[in-house]
Amino acid sequence: MLKMTKVATAVASAFLAAVPLANAQEPAPVKIGVVSFLSGPAAGPFGVPARNAAEITIEMLNAGKVPKPFDQKGLGGAKIEMALLDEAGSTTVQVTEFRNLVQRTGVDLVVGYISSGNCLAIAPVAEELKKLTVFFDCGTPRIFEDASYKYVFRTSPTSTMDSVGAALYVKAVKPNAKSYGGINQNYAWGQDSWGDFDASMQQLMPGSKVTTSQMPKLFAGQFGAEISALLTSKSEVIHSSFWNGDLEAFILQAGPRGLFKNSSVILTTGETAMYKLAKQIPDGTIIGARGPFGVFAPASDLNTWYRETFADRYAVPPNYAAYQMTQAILGVKAAWEKAQAANGGQRPTPEQVIAAFEGINYSGPAGEVKMALGKGHQAIMETAYGMTKVVNGQMTVTNVKRFPADQVNPPEGVKSTDWIKNGFKK
């Protein structure tokens, strides 16, 4: 009996000794392809902050330094490796590069894309190659409204939310405005943004009239004549979804010409310029961050940690592009670990991750993200707008108004344009 007890103890000890050995074996790493503008006019304000966000988020996840509930190392304990790709170049180039990333580099999943044009082109290719692809920034609502995808997700809200939120803010702060104009870039993003804003204004403030809609070429850089047209239009409100170098050039050129004094200017992506152009953006300019990102992010431990960690490394606070990238990676982590838990702690298959991702709710540094549209593939969030004010030489936002996710996003299965035209009916 004693002999058997000794044998049993020895066997148990051997198993116990083996357990840490088994745990010590590193699970195979997860290779994530990260795509962002590393060159071209979109790199400075968007691409590089997003790249930096990917770099620091992955590094902190691998080190297990991200606050709860993301404190487990990597993705379910598996180390994350990043394969970086430049988004600059034509859509055709991007499709080729995406295929290379999937078929040659052999990434497990892709997180990326700022340009709406690129997202529209990549989505069907991701589906064809059966590769989990998470869009982190592009805004066009057409992706999940015109098609249905299994392998494609988007963790940031659509441009519809920005435009409806902008119109709601105008109604709140300028309820008697009778005229509005716009200056937007002449491609999918600019046209969608203006179309949704205009339609929302007609619903929310039916007595107001459009004075002018300027649509200069993307990256035109010179807006002297457009600014004159806006000045002569005497619009009470001016809407712009300008981004990148065009946004900065517009602020530099319109400021000295008094456009911001004569009209209430609403810049839906203005947050990306607020630190760099703090001296040039006049007080009272209405800015947005394409969601509750950056300066609009609600207080939380995760947000405080994120802002401090990012600013320590890169010497500037994270802007909305950075927030969106981190939100996308954390979305993947939430889905991956949910799938892994359902799989008995074993590494999940891509199909299991996709099943876990569909319709998931999670909280990132910018608050709650609900994958509520596009059959659980498209995120909705609350949004916020505010007015700029320089206090002690620092740019801040005042008069911030927040709009709940359900108020600024259409219900599942309804196209954005129809939802707006039907008076935002749920």
Binding site: G40, A43, F219, A225, S228, T232, G258, L277
Partner: protein, 298 residues
């Protein structure tokens, strides 16, 4: 009435900007028969050098009014260092080759400079807003224009009139006209054609760099800014006639005014209208408005 005034003023300002950039392109083509795509690089390099040097000096407490001289100095620095290097080091050895081959070489250089700019200045935008607002503004009815725009108009006038005077009234200009007309005969007459090519390329590139340097305070200096100007400059010189100085002036004014009128009266046609004018001109005068009849050589 406000609109009409705005169309004219905006048109003139935009034309000045275009002319300063396009005149160098047409000069280099006129003299050297090179469609110089590196022109866009000099525009971008001028802007980057101006933004970084002026920004650094202003941060060190330089008298703001001196920034205009620094803008000009930055353009000079870029053109005087790089243009002779390119002309003597590369283009000089290619003159015997076909015009298309030389154009492709300048395209290759353009692409290389795009990457060099990113290596030197990175991808973050540069701003020097001070010179734009420093001179105050002028009011026309309800419209306000920064006085700085007068500098852009002045630069364009000085470049155009200075070049016209040099070509028509000076000995060097007359020799240059000879080179334009026939480089082979010019060589036979003892004219140092190679030196004229060097000076022309440097001066043409300087005009692009000046265009970039004086535009820098009005916008965000970002990678790939040289692409847009090359496309517009080509539209201007094709309308006016490649190699023609008055053609570049008229082309710039037509493009500036047509674009401005479209923005004020039919903004949806803004993109289309410049190329519509170009197509119409080329339909009726395939070599541009001011093309010069060329003698056929046997």
């Amino acid at each position: 009435m406000d609109k009409l005034i705005a169309v004219l003023i905006d048109g003139v300002i935009y034309s000045s900007w275009l002319f300063t950039a396009a005149i160098g392109l047409t000069l280099i083509y006129g003299v050297m028969k090179i469609l110089n795509l590196t022109h866009g690089s000099f525009y971008a390099l001028g802007a980057y050098m101006a933004a970084s040097v002026t920004g650094a000096l202003l941060a060190k407490g330089m008298e703001p009014m001196l920034s205009y001289a620094v803008l000009f100095g930055s353009a000079l620095l870029v053109a005087l260092v790089l243009a002779p290097l390119i002309e003597r080091g590369i283009l000089k050895h290619m003159y015997a080759k076909d015009e298309v081959v030389i154009m492709l070489i300048t395209y290759a250089l353009f692409l290389m400079f795009e990457d060099i700019i990113k290596l030197v200045w990175g991808v973050n935008p540069y701003f020097i807003a001070e010179p734009y607002g420093l001179l105050g503004s002028i009011e026309f009815g309800s419209l306000i224009y920064p006085t700085y725009n007068l500098i852009l108009i002045g630069v364009a006038l000085a470049a155009g009139l200075g070049l016209a005077y040099t070509l028509m009234r000076t000995r060097v200009g007359k020799l240059l006209l000879t080179v334009i007309h026939d480089p082979e005969v010019s060589r036979a007459l003892g004219i140092n054609v190679g030196r004229f090519y060097l000076v022309t390329f440097t001066f043409g590139s300087l005009l692009a760099a000046i265009g970039g340097a004086f535009t820098a305070p009005t916008l965000s200096v970002v990678p790939a800014m040289g692409v847009e100007i090359i496309v517009l400059s080509f539209a201007v010189v094709v309308i006016g006639g490649l190699g023609s100085l008055p053609g570049a002036a008229v082309g710039a004014i037509i493009v500036g005014l047509v674009r401005s009128a479209s923005i004020h009266y039919a903004p949806q046609f803004e993109l289309f209208v410049i190329y519509l004018v170009m197509a119409m001109v080329l339909t009726f005068r395939p070599r541009g408005l001011f093309s010069i009849a060329e003698a056929r050589k046997i």
